[in-house]
Symmetry: C2
DNA sequence: CAAAGATTTAACCACTTGGTTGAAAAAAAT
DNA sequence: ATTTTTTTCAACCAAGTGGTTAAATCTTTG
């Protein structure tokens, strides 16, 4: 039996190879769409060894889900709870978030799909992460409005707008590629452009 | 054997009941996550009769996919190819599109998930719909910019922005509900608010 | 009524899939 | 060197699922 149960797998270990393979396939195909055999193949081992390290599919999936959440949550928390000036925070968030998703383009759809199919299982995986609280962001927006530095907008909707503009293009990428007739390379350029484009779009919408 | 193969099922017919059940479950759980037995149960019939009307799961799924596409495409086409003045078209699209998705909240995630998992199968189902062509929209934006009626923006990004703002909130609904702490009723109000909020947001961002 | 079609029932098949087992071999640790 | 751990191999099991079949019954329609 594996000695380091529950801990972070060591790099280059078999456990790590399994985890990496599972991460890649789970995030692309989701829990239901993934077969244990696929993971074993990608990891270059056999099924028996898979269960030797991670007893069940659920446990392996949970490990991956936790890792994904742990990467995504801090950035959101920064937007919600950060103390920098609003405009600066928005600039920073858009740039950073689009970069993050560019590096892990399957994560948004993974999170959303899994929440939709098994909310309970997923939210369990989120513990003990406490949800980011958006109150600070809301208050900042209200102050900016009161001091006439931005146009009056609903803080909640502004928040949803910013996140939508960053995340959705990645989720809808295959559809967009078809409609806009873009190849993989053009797509990467397009996503890179979006950092500036979304930033100026949001800030322009906020002008008093 | 069923006499009216390939045609639109008659209302109140068993075929229609099957189709409706399949539509509901497929759009919520996707092809892989749906069991034929579930569909039979919801339709109030048995599995044998299911296969009596739709020979295979694939065929039934394809019928549903086609119907979904046929409902979504025309609205997009309107935005891309309509000849009304740009601002008016944007207003109209946002209002109409959010209403449409409110009535069928599972459709966006359904389309996106299926495209991601089986692009080939899905695009096959899209025939013979020809893709909406965005050239007219692009030209309109360029003209408005040239005549200084809107701020200079990338037409492609503007298009993606508008669609993102309409669609994403529905896809990310479960997550948003959690973060913003909203119940089902509040959520419906929020989506209704978005029509005005998104419209003014986009138009504000376009001010010269 | 008689024929054709619609529907049920229940058993059944083939296949996939998550998971197990037990023995043997390879590698690592003592 | 020997004990422990890791890894392979191959067969296997149980459950679930898509799909079939054949007979029986109900419904519609000529």
């Amino acid at each position: 039996m594996n000695k380091r149960d529950g801990l972070q797998p060591l790099p280059d270990s078999t456990e790590q190879k399994i985890f990496d393979a599972a991460h890649e396939i789970f995030t692309q195909k989701g829990m239901d769409g993934t077969k244990m055999q696929e993971i074993a193949d990608l990891a270059g081992i056999n099924k028996a060894l898979l269960h030797y390290y991670y007893r069940t599919k659920e446990k392996l999936f949970e490990a991956v889900a936790k890792a994904v959440i742990d990467k995504a949550v801090p950035v959101i928390r920064q937007l919600f709870e950060g103390e920098q000036p609003l405009q600066e925070k928005i600039r920073y968030f858009i740039d950073f978030y689009i970069s993050l998703i560019s590096r892990n383009p399957f994560i948004p759809l993974f999170i959303i799909s899994e929440i939709n199919k098994h909310p309970d299982r997923f939210f369990e995986a989120m513990f003990p992460q406490d949800m980011p609280r958006p109150e600070i962001f809301f208050k900042q927006v209200q102050i900016e409005i009161a001091e006439r530095r931005i146009r009056p907008v609903s803080p909640k909707h502004l928040m949803v707008n910013i996140i939508s503009l960053c995340v959705f293009p990645f989720i809808g990428k295959p559809m967009m590629r078809l409609v806009l007739g873009m190849g993989t390379g053009e797509m990467r350029v397009f996503m890179e452009e979006r950092k500036a484009e979304v930033t100026s779009f949001v800030l322009a919408a906020l002008r008093p």
